[in-house]
Symmetry: C2
Subunit: 211 residues, 2 copies
C-alpha cells in the first residue's frame, strides 16, 4: 500500500491521497482526504484575519503588478451615485516614502516599507450638494486592506484627512491639486513579525429593530 | 466498479473520480480532475463581483444567524486608534422596514427586503479632537457588503448621513440618541433578477509617486 500526500499550503489547497493498483495481485484501497475552501469561508476568513501590519521584511519589494492588483480592488468598491471620486497614488520611490515618513507622525514605518498606496478623494465631485468621497474612498481603502491580507501582504491605514497639517504635508510631497484630499497613506509590504488580528466582537454594539 | 462523488460548497469546485476497469474485475485505475480556489482568488473574486442589489426574492427571510455573521464581519473592520465607534441596528421587523422605506427617498426597496442593517457611528468618540467614525463605519459597511456577496446574498448601501433630513427620519424610527449618527441603511436579502457588477477600472485614477 502506497501513500501520496501533498500538504495544504494555503487554506484552500487540496490534500489528495490516491492509492491505486492495477495489474498485480495486491489489494488496494482508494482513500481521499480533501481540504477545500468556499468563497464564503475564504472571504470571512480574510475579513477576520485582517490586521494592521506595521513591520515589513526589509528590502523585499512588492511587485508592480501586485500593487496594481491592490489598486484594482480599491476601484471595485461601491460608490455613491457611481461617481468614483477616488484617486490612488502608488508610491514605491524610496525618497518619496522617506519624505512621507519624515512628515507624518504616525507613518514612520514608511522608512522600511517597500511601497505605499495613498488613497485620495476629489472633494469637487458631489451628488447634488452632498459629498460622498470620504465614504467611497474608505470603501476603496477597505478593499485594498482585504486584498492585502488575502495576498499574504501586510498594510495599515495611517490617517491623513481630516488632520490639516498632515493633508498639507502629503499635498506638498505628492503635488496634489487643491481639490484632491489625501484620506490616508497605506504602507504595503511583506509582514515581519507576527501581527495578530483583534477580536472586536461586542454584542453591546448590536441592536435589534431599534437602538 | 465504485463511484465517489463530492460536491462543492458555495464556490464551484468539481471533483470527478473515474474508476475504470483494467481488464480485471477486481482492479481499478483512478483518474481525478479537480478545481480548487485560493484564499486570494476567492477574495478578489468577491471584491470584483460585489454589486448593488436592489431587488430581493419576496418573502425569503434572511436567518438571524446569517445577519449576525454579517454584523460580526462589520465589527472586524479596521478602526482608528481601535476606538470602534460603530453600532449596528439589525432590522427584520416588517413595520420598521416599511417605515424606513416610507421615510427614505432612496430606500424604497426596503418594502420588499426581508432585513436591513443600519450602520451608525458614535460622533462623541474622538481621537484627540479628530473624529474617525465616518471612516471606521464605512469600513465596517464595506466588510458587510463583501460578506453579503460571499454568502450569495444581495445588498446595497443607501445613504443617510450626511443628509440631515434622512438622519432625522432614521433617528426617529430607530430611537437613536443624539450622538449616534446613521451612516446608511443596508437592505439585505436574496437577489432577484441579475444585478451585474460595474467595471470601474480607470487607469487615469492611478498615479505613480506623485499626482
Amino acid at each position: 500500500m502506497k501513500h501520496f500526500i501533498s500538504k495544504a499550503g494555503t487554506l484552500s489547497l487540496s490534500l489528495i491521497l490516491i492509492l491505486s493498483s492495477c495489474g498485480n495481485k495486491e489489494k488496494t484501497d482508494n482513500v481521499m482526504i480533501m481540504e477545500t475552501v468556499s468563497k464564503k469561508d475564504a472571504t470571512l476568513s480574510v475579513i477576520h484575519s485582517r490586521k494592521s501590519v506595521r513591520n515589513f521584511i526589509p528590502g523585499k519589494a512588492v511587485p508592480a503588478e501586485t500593487l496594481d492588483t491592490l489598486v484594482r480592488a480599491g476601484m471595485a468598491a461601491a460608490s455613491a451615485v457611481n461617481l468614483q471620486p477616488w484617486h490612488f497614488v502608488v508610491v514605491d520611490d524610496r525618497a518619496v516614502l522617506d519624505s512621507l515618513a519624515a512628515g507624518l507622525p504616525y507613518a514612520k514605518m514608511l522608512n522600511h516599507a517597500p511601497a505605499a498606496i495613498v488613497v485620495c478623494g476629489d472633494s469637487a465631485i458631489k451628488a447634488g450638494d452632498l459629498a460622498f468621497w470620504e465614504f467611497d474612498c474608505s470603501l476603496a481603502s477597505g478593499n485594498i486592506l482585504l486584498a492585502v491580507e488575502a495576498m499574504g501582504l501586510g498594510a495599515v491605514w495611517t490617517a491623513v484627512h481630516p488632520d490639516a497639517a498632515r493633508i498639507a504635508t502629503v499635498r506638498e510631497i505628492l503635488h496634489l491639486p487643491d481639490n484632491i484630499i489625501p484620506l490616508n497613506v497605506i504602507p504595503v509590504g511583506y509582514p515581519a513579525g507576527a501581527a495578530k488580528p483583534k477580536d472586536k466582537y461586542d454584542p453591546r454594539k448590536i441592536h435589534r429593530n431599534r437602538y
